[in-house]
């Protein structure tokens, strides 16, 4: 075991190899995704597929892990911030970084072991989950929001594990076409949504913890349906009450065999 991983030897004798060989995708390299990328690099994940179409702006500096004023001045791509972050910690990591919308390259997700979604919209979450399910890939989603209430504010967020064969984000009540429709109608009206680093950090760390228990479990309490809600005003992360209903669901949204693999394989 390399010395840099000595302190995580409790994860198991083969954990270093497992993490080194693990192929992850991180979609969205903003406030949440940049945290996740940093932590995954630290624990020794060795194969990254990264997506973000944007470059660094000054409004990112309050939360984009690894970004500096020099990056803003030079309009450095968020994918390059992430690459630099990873390589500085784990120079042996293999990185495929795409400065583009992942939806143009969805086929690249097919060989991933786990997909992290750190995206802004419900429709992107829906599409990432569906693409992951099609290739039997566990999908870990994070998101945060700031709500105004009587001129005060409430910070909330969620981490969800969507495991193939188990309750999906629609079963959990996180997604619906009605909510996606409302979002589509309001698109452009909202302006830049409030985003701050500390909730992103809590959610990213929770997501990485979910991932670690999946690939290098350190206890026997295995859960393949997870939905944590974050109440930022109370600094509380706990299991969502909605999970009680969803946990034993047989997901009816992704059970069709035609939802697996390439549906056009026979016509190639």
């Amino acid at each position: 075991m390399m010395a840099q991983f000595n302190r995580q030897s409790f994860l198991g004798a083969d954990s270093e190899c497992v993490l080194r060989d693990c192929r992850v995708a991180v979609v969205g390299l903003g406030g949440g995704g940049s945290h996740i990328v940093q932590q995954l690099a630290h624990v020794g994940v060795g194969n990254f597929l990264l997506f973000d179409p944007d470059h660094t702006e000054d409004s990112n500096l309050n939360r984009l892990v690894g970004a500096t004023w020099a990056d803003v001045a030079e309009k450095i791509l968020k994918t390059e911030i992430a690459r630099r972050l990873i390589m500085g910690i784990n120079p042996n990591a293999r990185i495929d970084a795409r400065c583009d919308d992942w939806r143009h390259h969805a086929q690249l997700l097919r060989d991933r072991d786990v997909v992290f979604g750190c995206v802004d919209t419900l429709s992107a979450r829906r599409d990432l989950e569906a693409a992951s399910r099609r290739y039997l890939i566990p999908y870990i989603d994070i998101g945060m929001d700031v709500h105004e209430l009587d001129e005060r504010y409430s910070i909330i967020g969620q981490v969800a594990l969507s495991m193939p064969g188990k309750a999906c984000m629609r079963c959990m009540g996180i997604l619906s076409e009605e909510a996606i429709g409302r979002e589509a109608r309001n698109y452009g009206a909202a302006g830049g949504k409030p985003q701050v680093i500390w909730p992103n950090g809590v959610l990213a760390s929770t997501a990485v913890g979910v991932f670690m228990q999946l690939v290098t479990p350190w206890h026997d309490n295995h859960s393949d349906v997870l939905y944590y809600e974050y109440e930022g005003n109370n600094n509380f992360v706990g299991e969502s009450a909605r999970l009680h209903h969803a946990k034993d669901f047989t997901c009816r949204h992704f059970q069709d065999a035609n939802g697996l693999g390439d549906p056009f394989w026979l016509t190639k």
């Binding site: 969805a106 589509a184 056009f264």
Partner: protein
Amino acid sequence: MVSSEAMSELQAICPGARLMTDGGVTFILLPGLRLPAGCTPSQSDGLLAIQQRDGYPTKLYLSAPIQGKGNNWNVFPILDRTWHSWSWKDVVYSGRPVDTLAQHLVALR
């Protein structure tokens, strides 16, 4: 959701049209759909969502965007492929997909 008569009516103008589902949503695949005159390409694979999707009661997706037609083209991964669609008015599903399809194709004239 689609009667056999309605499906046959659609297959008369688009042979090979068939139902497919993705993430619990029903689509009609329209292989080699002929597009209105003046479109480049003149033919495209299409995907007609006959349930609410992306903020519309129905929606038509194409395998490639059409230059100079439609506004606000965007990209959608569905059925393990990349599809393209544009902003259009609400077209409510009538039970006759050929009719719903025609109302979407008006945007490309």
